[in-house]
Symmetry: D3
Subunit: 317 residues, 6 copies
Amino acid sequence: MKSQYAEELRSGQTVKEVFVLSWKSIKDKKDGGVFAVLEFSDRSGTIQGIAWDKVVENIGALSVGDFVFVVGNVNEYNDRLQIVVNSIKRIDDDEINPKDFLPRADEDIEQAFSEIDEFRNNIKDLHLKQLLAAFFENKALIEKFKLAPAAKRVHHAYIGGLVVHTRNVLKLINKVNDVYANLNFDLLIAAGILHDIGKIYEYTYTRNIDFSTQGRMFGHIVIGYELVADRIKQIPDFPESLRLRLLHMILSHHGEYEWGSPKQPSFLEALILHFLDNLDSKVEIITSARKKNKGMEKDWSDYHPFLEREIYLREED
Amino acid sequence: MKSQYAEELRSGQTVKEVFVLSWKSIKDKKDGGVFAVLEFSDRSGTIQGIAWDKVVENIGALSVGDFVFVVGNVNEYNDRLQIVVNSIKRIDDDEINPKDFLPRADEDIEQAFSEIDEFRNNIKDLHLKQLLAAFFENKALIEKFKLAPAAKRVHHAYIGGLVVHTRNVLKLINKVNDVYANLNFDLLIAAGILHDIGKIYEYTYTRNIDFSTQGRMFGHIVIGYELVADRIKQIPDFPESLRLRLLHMILSHHGEYEWGSPKQPSFLEALILHFLDNLDSKVEIITSARKKNKGMEKDWSDYHPFLEREIYLREED
Amino acid sequence: MKSQYAEELRSGQTVKEVFVLSWKSIKDKKDGGVFAVLEFSDRSGTIQGIAWDKVVENIGALSVGDFVFVVGNVNEYNDRLQIVVNSIKRIDDDEINPKDFLPRADEDIEQAFSEIDEFRNNIKDLHLKQLLAAFFENKALIEKFKLAPAAKRVHHAYIGGLVVHTRNVLKLINKVNDVYANLNFDLLIAAGILHDIGKIYEYTYTRNIDFSTQGRMFGHIVIGYELVADRIKQIPDFPESLRLRLLHMILSHHGEYEWGSPKQPSFLEALILHFLDNLDSKVEIITSARKKNKGMEKDWSDYHPFLEREIYLREED
Amino acid sequence: MKSQYAEELRSGQTVKEVFVLSWKSIKDKKDGGVFAVLEFSDRSGTIQGIAWDKVVENIGALSVGDFVFVVGNVNEYNDRLQIVVNSIKRIDDDEINPKDFLPRADEDIEQAFSEIDEFRNNIKDLHLKQLLAAFFENKALIEKFKLAPAAKRVHHAYIGGLVVHTRNVLKLINKVNDVYANLNFDLLIAAGILHDIGKIYEYTYTRNIDFSTQGRMFGHIVIGYELVADRIKQIPDFPESLRLRLLHMILSHHGEYEWGSPKQPSFLEALILHFLDNLDSKVEIITSARKKNKGMEKDWSDYHPFLEREIYLREED
Amino acid sequence: MKSQYAEELRSGQTVKEVFVLSWKSIKDKKDGGVFAVLEFSDRSGTIQGIAWDKVVENIGALSVGDFVFVVGNVNEYNDRLQIVVNSIKRIDDDEINPKDFLPRADEDIEQAFSEIDEFRNNIKDLHLKQLLAAFFENKALIEKFKLAPAAKRVHHAYIGGLVVHTRNVLKLINKVNDVYANLNFDLLIAAGILHDIGKIYEYTYTRNIDFSTQGRMFGHIVIGYELVADRIKQIPDFPESLRLRLLHMILSHHGEYEWGSPKQPSFLEALILHFLDNLDSKVEIITSARKKNKGMEKDWSDYHPFLEREIYLREED
Amino acid sequence: MKSQYAEELRSGQTVKEVFVLSWKSIKDKKDGGVFAVLEFSDRSGTIQGIAWDKVVENIGALSVGDFVFVVGNVNEYNDRLQIVVNSIKRIDDDEINPKDFLPRADEDIEQAFSEIDEFRNNIKDLHLKQLLAAFFENKALIEKFKLAPAAKRVHHAYIGGLVVHTRNVLKLINKVNDVYANLNFDLLIAAGILHDIGKIYEYTYTRNIDFSTQGRMFGHIVIGYELVADRIKQIPDFPESLRLRLLHMILSHHGEYEWGSPKQPSFLEALILHFLDNLDSKVEIITSARKKNKGMEKDWSDYHPFLEREIYLREED
């Protein structure tokens, strides 16, 4: 855990801490020589930096995106704080804790994950049970699952977002299952757990949350399909009809072609998964728009480009 | 209750029963004179009729849509059954039971209505309680509410459909409310009960299910808005913020402009109502497509023009 | 009427005038103490302001959007004019004249309103006459009607814009009625007068033109529908068919679902109202794009995002 | 002028008249030999025909679409009338009057045309005057102009339809010009007269109304553009700015790319022409839907696929 | 190879041949007893059948879709030919040759396949070579590849269609590669061969061409992705970058989300594959529309619902 | 040819060169008097300028867009280079070489044009040969053809772009013609040469690449149609069917209404031209996105607003 975060620095402080180098630009001084304008980031936000001659030589070897250990002092310049850098050096990725550098869930991810695990444990269908066990016993994969965001920008765009979103979808499934008779509950829960599993490879989430190349090339729908299809092949006698349904639910969970699903939901469980996935995403978008505007006096948010509307912010009277 | 239904008639039977006259055509016989080709309908379906000279004079005074008491015999002509009509006369609307002539819910509407009523009784907010009481104490309106369909064609298109759909939405609201903290549950339930209330005037559902002129002109969204806005005016000190929210939820429950809502949902409860209304409608569409194909051997329904896809029909293995 | 407007201030002038405080930001001085960066607005535009220590204490209590009486001097800083504020205090809303603070119509609103009134007086249908009288005898409502804009941004976005737009639509109706036989002229005129009446509550237009919360929640179409529907209920024997037509025309005047109408025009008068409303809006958009570019040498406007095209600006040769 | 029309024939009559042969099919008789099933059309509608052995040899040489002189008797077969053909022979196109075979305007086309001519005569701009004179002095072209329909199916789909529609658009222009100051009235009138001139070549309208190959390949917008552009080249000193405006108005009069205009209206006159053209088309669609349903008891038309809605049919109370 | 095809049967012939039973309906005779109305199909078309009492018992056990060996005589009834069935019995699927029952390519599939194989043999990249070898050495799969259609209805909807379409795309790739420098030709060819490989499982094409359940659930894009991804896993050291590109090309070859691709082409080779796949499909649609209208006198096809236009049919002059 | 380009200037240099004056702004100095802030452009890019009192009087008479001969010195101000202007004067358009001021093709335009000419020479159809000769013998037109860009922004937006794009389309046609039998090759080549000919008047490309007024009013599709239609009229006995096809190909080459074509391609050659035109445009967009990102370390371009996606930039491994 870091002890100094970018947003908490104050003028006059001494800095000895790791940041992501999120911008660098070498410039000529009017009187000869060079200086560097820098930007340092962590999960709290960003702060400007400036480095004079003697330091600049070290900066030449750094790339934007590197983790760097910075020593310097904070002062104010043009109404903004900046770190005057005394020394700076690259830090290996495995020396840092990603949670320090990326926004993370408000709630306890281990707790949310254990809720998912409980849903899994209640599955009675033996083939689905076996399938999910194969995923949950894969420690490396589960480690990623707990870190992955659920989106780059739009919703649950933070470390742990995938777990929070998946847990919510499972809770919704669990509830909606009470309303309609004759749903295949085990299928719904299994598909609910796995529907976004491809996101663990769709995104990178070490230094910053972005799409991976595989993510841009295939998308989480197809990546997830492949992960699940591959596991199923290793389970003897996995029923064909169950395989078709489960994989179709992953493929169709975005609901419409234009939202990136290569197939539309064609039976009840697939339709319900799509609706509940969509519902939780939209709820999160509105919830975080409200959070962002917390404490402001306005009744309405600015125009939200993804939802294409303004959001009403006023708390209940 | 009728004792003879169109679909259950068999060749050789004597008919003495009321039907809707759903088609009539007077034709010239080759040898002079006239005869009438008729069609009779009830909630079970339709049967052809034929009437010879002496009867035709009575038919001139009848209009398509009239309830008629028919006496005759069933025989088979060109592979189809028909009633050879001996006598036919108009029956007043109030002598018939609409349930005989229109498709109706499979389940007990009174029971479904009492579930709605229980949700209503659990509302704690005094203004919403008062508002809903005003509706539920209006016997004539509740009578209509219990008869109204939820659609002309697409979903819950039968007597009692509105009650079944409303009850389902309330059950979904009740469940989803457990998943998300800080929702205004009373508001959700009140809006859930009232969201489609305009349908009692949007449709006609005596002889057949069709749009009323008011329904085509205004639509159930605006009719419902007006019904609720009018009641609120009669309740002293109904909080303005509550009024805005509740009425906005009615206006926005179709979710998008192109689906007929003049406003998009702009806060969480409005968004959730839209999703759950939409979910229940789609579930019903798939469920009835499955029913319609029951017993057929095919795995996939025909192309469903509203859903724009085929539906997978196969039961779990 | 104000005597000093933001856009007319010149370096060296003394200011003693009321403005809207449209921005404020308290900042730390490098040498300790604070200062405030401000922005003042009126119907002519905006001017920056700066207030040093002694004044800032007064500013803490002011909100953006307040009317303030400012005493100070104009100077130039960084190529821009600013008011150096000597004193500033809040003014009550009822001490100001909204016309000073909001853009207003080029033409005489009273004159335009009297043209509307003349159209009203020529209505022969007694029920419509009575209905409109009820509106026009409501002084408070007519006062608002004369102030309301016809839009926030796109067209007639100024004080009096609603009157100007309504008058234009009536003139167009009056003309088009000559071309087609058998139109219900009284219905067209009545609907023309009332079609946008909901805008008097859809917008706020005291300090600045914006949507009201009710406006965002319901929109002027539904607000107008309700206003008219409520009045009709108070008129004995208002014919049902006339009620359906008139209210349908209000609901359908945007023509298409995606433009916010919950119903599409379903008879000639409704269709014509939609076209003429749309025509006048678009004419105004082009006219004001031309005004904005007046005196510039270019033949084509910049890309107009609402019309999705460039507009040809060249005057006739 | 024909003396016998298909729709007016009655069982027992002798037929000696010209029709379009709109269908023919040669069939084998069970007992050897052949017979022909035929269909005859004119502007009133169609009637079946049957021709036995001796006549069939003449039919072999006839093509569907030919004008034929038919001698025979009307009888009734399977509840439908048919002509039993005694003799049939081809008639040259120039021996018939197209007005007998195609639906035509209800009103007097010469009168409507003279209204157009009057608008033309009031144009003051000398170049536009000269341009229009060139068209109106072209007898052959004007002859076509008076015959051409304004559409194949949707609106004004009858002989004379182009004149009726053009006249209506001019009347609308004339009226709307009174409402907005500073419009170029001569330009509007000239463009109004010429906007659909390409339709005289887009359609064929001798035997039936259909697209010509040129019409399908280029469309009336481009055909009209070319006709007008060519004429302008022959007028000395036709002002370039006027040429650009007039031709742009023809190209953009459908208003949007998806409605077939290669450009969107980019100045006021172009915008107004588009709206008024569109308005008159839609008015005609509704008017003819009403006509078609005249005398029926229903309040609403069937779903109109072009307008994508039902039309309210009820006359004023 | 069958010796009798449905379309070639003539009245009076004796039939002893296999057909698909494409319709059956058991009916009551007026005088007691039952008879069966049947329909028999093969690749040439269909013919009606009728079976009297003694035969009907055998028909009860048959399902629509069965292959049946029929003995009977052809006669004519109501202007249509029919087989009067003397005996009928089920035939096993493996006794028939699918080519007899399904439309097939005009050209020699073996020849077209060998052209594909030659393209494959020219690939130089060793990993792609190895990958394709794995497919081409799989006899069962190649057998299916040679039978599969390229569509159910729209284009290349016949046995061998997939080979013809694939070969065409390869020829186009080969040509276009000459125009643009620096394309990865091996990648283009490999992706060209494999882009529609999923169609061998998307369709069923034994009795008739239809979607398989897997086809409806996953679609050929995802099925093909999985087939190729699985093979790649078995090839040691297959370069990751090549894997990403090749699989992305399969996923994105429909070009747009609304055409069923879960990703849009993101580099040149992917874009080119999409265009050439699309081009060959459209060329085939127009070509077969022309074939279908061959010999007719008309210049224009009927409205083509998939292309949303009429097609010009006239041959060069 | 200029000897000094904006992007190559360095601090300390003396400037004596022609530029486009691309921005000017006269400002008051704090101490009285005025100065001018300027921007100078050429095909390499832009550089700021500043002019003090004595020079400003000359600047008053200059318009943005003028070519100006500038004498001055380069220095650095606020980290940016600027020319301190000593003298400035207007230069006539005919004294400059447009190639100095506009981006131009990387390749030799004369060479690319000669490839087009060779395709032309291979046309065998005498009428098409004659038509194209008429264009190619028009020196002034060909001069423009060699300069014109193929777009303002999206693709081939540089001097010579039209020739490069046209040559590419011809090469593609030439190749694709080998794949499909029975195409009219001469027609394809002629239409390929002429499809974008209207662009020589759609754009202005002397000082900067922009739309001409005619271009905005008509678009290159209609301008090209008119150019070709006019030439055809001068060729005796040009076959009507050929005229229809060729002109239809020009009109429909954008393929869809929403992409600006007033007609959709209705036969094979028209369809193929559309696809190949589209393919070359898209290839160029991706190619230049790659060029723009050359040397950067990133794997993916920024979001490309026209293609609505990111482009994969990584070179083959």
